[in-house]
Each structure stands twice: as structure tokens, then as C-alpha cells.
């Protein structure tokens, strides 16, 4: 499937103020720049349902037309499953849009807040701060 457009939009964190913050296993701000958000649209190359965080990989075309493979960090697989995600939601080849915080080490990696699927659904990708039943 062809690569879709690249969109990099730095914005204040309040842009996604409704999203619940904080990854359970580590301090988010240490690793990611939570003062900015990034929006990427690309084609899924792989989804790894690994602990402690699931990782989505997507091919994104940059402003020079070069394809870059970005790594998108999610919550734990269990948290995604309990939220209703299934392994069929993110097949290789599907085009998705993800929003999240960019890595501080300038790597092609973001901590995701949400994922928009081809069918129009939006999945919350982070970890809830409140683990009450």
C-alpha cells in the first residue's frame, strides 16, 4: 500500500487535554517531550503486542519524500485488551493516524495518545492513571 502523507504538527499539550496522561511504568516527561504533540499518518508495518508497552511501527513519508519507519509506544497489552482493542484492529498495511508526544532523544519514536483507525474509530492508547476497578 502506498505511503500516505506526512504531517508533523507541533502543538501545545493542551491540544489533547482530554487525553489521560501518564504511562504506568515510567515517567513520561523524562523520555518524551510533553510540551509538544506530533500527528503522524502512515502505513502499519508491524504491531508488537509486547510488555511492558505495545509498539506500533508505521511507515511515514517525510517532507522530502523519504520513507521513515516510526515507532509508536502504547500502554500494556492487557490495558489495551481491557479497553476493547483486538489484534485485528491494527493489521499490517492499514493506514492510521496517531497523535502523541515526541521522543527527547530525537529518535523516530512517539508516546501515543490515540490512534485513528481506517474505519473511523479512535482508540485511546495511553495508560489510565486511575486503576480503580
Amino acid at each position: 500500500m502506498s505511503i500516505t502523507r506526512f504531517a508533523l504538527a507541533a502543538a501545545v499539550a493542551s491540544l489533547l487535554a482530554s487525553a489521560v496522561p501518564a504511562l504506568a511504568h515510567h515517567s513520561l516527561t523524562a523520555e518524551f517531550d510533553t510540551d509538544r504533540t506530533v500527528s503522524l499518518t502512515g502505513t502499519i508495518t508491524e504491531m508488537k503486542w509486547t510488555n511492558p508497552h505495545a509498539w506500533l511501527y508505521i511507515n511515514v513519508k517525510d517532507e522530502k519524500g523519504q520513507i521513515q519507519n516510526w515507532a509508536i509506544e502504547f500502554a500494556t497489552p492487557n490495558q489495551l485488551y481491557r479497553r476493547g482493542w483486538t489484534r485485528e484492529d491494527l493489521p499490517a498495511g492499514a493506514v492510521v493516524t496517531v497523535n502523541g508526544y515526541p521522543s527527547r532523544d530525537k529518535a523516530l519514536r512517539i508516546s501515543s495518545l490515540e490512534v485513528k483507525l481506517p474505519d473511523g474509530r479512535t482508540l485511546f492508547a495511553g495508560t489510565p492513571t486511575d486503576q480503580r476497578p
Binding site: 496522561p21 523524562a30 510488555n51 511492558p52 527527547r104 492513571t129 486503576q131 480503580r132
Partner: protein, 317 residues
């Protein structure tokens, strides 16, 4: 754990001492964050978004509540439970930020809600936060009490044991109820050594022998292998436990301090703990090392004594 206070720690302690005094937080800031409401928590008779409120309310209701019983007549804590994650972010009051859900302090004693940390240890806390990867990010066990404000867990109870199963890292903690003494002082463990008994309908657990590796929250509060952690579990309605925990580590803190919050039963039909093989894809520590963080080496009571002495010598000059 062997003593391992590198020279840079002592240097930081000495050079930052004045700065810490200058930055020492004022007392009485507990009320700085507004608490949105004190409405009753669903399936519970008490609110739980304010530790002081849940503590007072929980103790009051516990006077008349009749908990479920085991076959040997003890309060039955069996079941799946969970709680707020606010303490994991910061034991003290903290605002909602991209990194945090925010919340009031979980500390009920001292009354100002502040951690009574010694000046030298505040320097170390700041260093922990700025320099070292939280052990939690590397899939190590969370220790006592942090594993009870991380995710969901299940209590299994027999006449001689209460077993705490955490989904996070699939950690297991066994509380012996048969009156045996703690293990020897040279045995140091991530989850420590827990011994419990009942005082009326309250389960009281003393934990020692932790290894100085776990930290209490993401802002670097820490304790050493000399810490004595005393927890009190009291059911105040069918689905709620008042959880009180007192940290006593005289090298690090000026006095013992007590935290309190509610644990709520998971009443979701069919709920079960699932495997969380945390280490399988752990990549965050490599990313954090790329930007200058290091693995946390832990901090023993011997380390603490050396750092404390160095700090006090610097102040005496």
C-alpha cells in the same frame, strides 16, 4: 547490598546543600490543590479522592461494619482489588500535567501532607529524579508499599498466609501470619519480608529486609534496606479497604510518616489477573540512557549514613 556511595553523590550533597535549604518547601501546603468533590465513591460508603477524608470516614464505618469471615473467623480479604495511581506519581500533592493525573497528598501524618525528608536525603531525592531511571520503568518489582498503588492485584488468604498477586510484573508477595520472626538481616529482597497479624479486624503487616532498590514514587522519594514498613488493612464496607502505611527509615526521614488511601474491590464480572511478562519488550531504559539517565544502583543504609555524615560535615563548616 554493599556500600557504594560514589564521590559524585557526596560532591552533589556538599554543593547542593545550600540550594536545598533555599528551596525547602514551606509547610502547610496541603491545601494548595483543590479537591474537586467529596462525593461518595461508587460501591463505597466513603469518598476516596481525599486521603484525610477516606481515613476519617473509613475508620468511622469500620467501627460497625462486619467484614466477611474466613472459616477460621478472620476478616476475609480474598478477592481482586485496585486503587488510585496518584501516589505512584508523587506521594505529595501534585497538579494534573501531561505526565500526571494529579491529586492531593496521600500523606495523612504529618498533617501538612509533606514527606518529612531529611535535608541530605532531599538532595539525594532530587538526584534520583534527575539522574536515575526509575526501577519501575525497567520492570523490576515495585517493592512495599508501591506495588499497592500500581495497577490491580489479587489477595489469596489461608489461615497461615496472605498472598498478594500483582498483575504488574506478575509480582508475588507472601505475608506470613504464623508468628515466625523476620528472616536474617543479610537477606535483602525487592518485596522485602512481610509478617502479619490481626488486631481486631485489622490486618497489620510489618515488612523489613527490602533491598534499597525500589523507590516510592516517580519524583525520587526513596528508602533504604533499614526501612520498617507497617501497613494496616481495614475493611469498612463490602468493597473497600482502608489502607494505612507507615514508613520508618530514621536515616532518611526526620520522623515516621503515614499514608492512607482506599483499595476497592474489582466487582467486574469474570475479572481475572492476566500475565504481564513485563521484561519481554522493555525498551524505555535504553531510550532513557540515550538522554543521559543511568540505572539506579539502589541506596543502602550504609550509603545513607555516609551521605548524611558528609552533608552534616559540610553544614558544620
Amino acid at each position: 547490598m554493599h556500600s557504594r556511595v560514589p564521590g559524585f553523590i557526596i560532591a552533589i550533597v556538599l554543593t547542593a546543600a545550600g540550594a536545598v535549604f533555599a528551596q525547602a518547601p514551606s509547610r502547610g501546603q496541603q491545601g494548595a490543590l483543590p479537591i474537586p468533590d467529596l462525593a461518595r465513591t461508587p460501591d463505597s460508603v466513603c469518598p476516596d479522592n481525599n486521603p484525610l477524608a477516606v481515613h476519617a470516614c473509613g475508620l468511622e464505618h469500620a467501627k460497625t461494619f462486619k467484614p466477611p469471615r474466613t472459616t477460621d473467623g478472620k476478616p476475609d480479604f480474598s478477592g481482586a482489588w485496585g486503587g488510585s495511581q496518584a501516589a505512584h506519581e508523587n506521594l505529595e500533592a501534585h497538579p494534573k500535567l501531561p505526565d500526571d493525573g494529579g491529586g492531593p497528598s496521600v500523606i495523612i501524618d504529618p498533617a501538612d501532607g509533606r514527606v518529612p525528608i531529611q535535608p541530605w536525603a532531599e538532595v539525594k531525592r532530587l538526584e534520583n529524579k534527575a539522574r536515575y531511571i526509575d526501577q519501575n520503568a525497567q520492570c523490576f518489582q515495585s517493592g512495599v508499599p508501591r506495588h499497592l498503588y500500581m495497577g490491580s492485584y489479587q489477595f489469596l488468604q489461608t489461615p497461615t498466609d496472605i498472598v498478594l498477586l500483582s498483575e504488574e510484573t506478575n509480582a508475588v508477595r507472601i505475608i506470613k501470619l504464623d508468628g515466625r520472626p523476620h528472616v536474617g538481616k543479610d537477606i535483602l529482597l525487592w518485596q522485602g519480608d512481610s509478617r502479619g497479624h490481626f488486631e481486631g479486624d485489622t490486618l497489620v503487616v510489618e515488612t523489613t529486609n527490602q533491598n534499597g532498590m525500589p523507590r516510592l514514587d516517580q519524583v525520587g522519594h526513596f528508602y533504604t534496606d533499614a526501612a520498617v514498613v507497617t501497613e494496616r488493612f481495614t475493611m469498612y464496607d463490602a468493597n473497600s479497604i482502608l489502607y494505612e502505611v507507615t514508613m520508618n527509615d530514621p536515616l532518611v526521614y526526620t520522623r515516621p510518616f503515614t499514608m492512607a488511601f482506599a483499595l476497592h474491590r474489582n466487582t467486574r464480572p469474570g475479572y481475572e489477573l492476566w500475565e504481564e511478562s513485563c521484561y519481554e519488550g522493555e525498551a524505555n531504559s535504553e531510550h532513557l540512557r540515550n538522554i543521559g539517565y543511568r540505572n539506579y544502583p539502589g541506596f543502602s543504609s550504609k550509603d545513607a549514613q555516609i551521605a548524611k555524615d558528609a552533608y552534616e560535615r559540610s553544614r558544620a563548616k
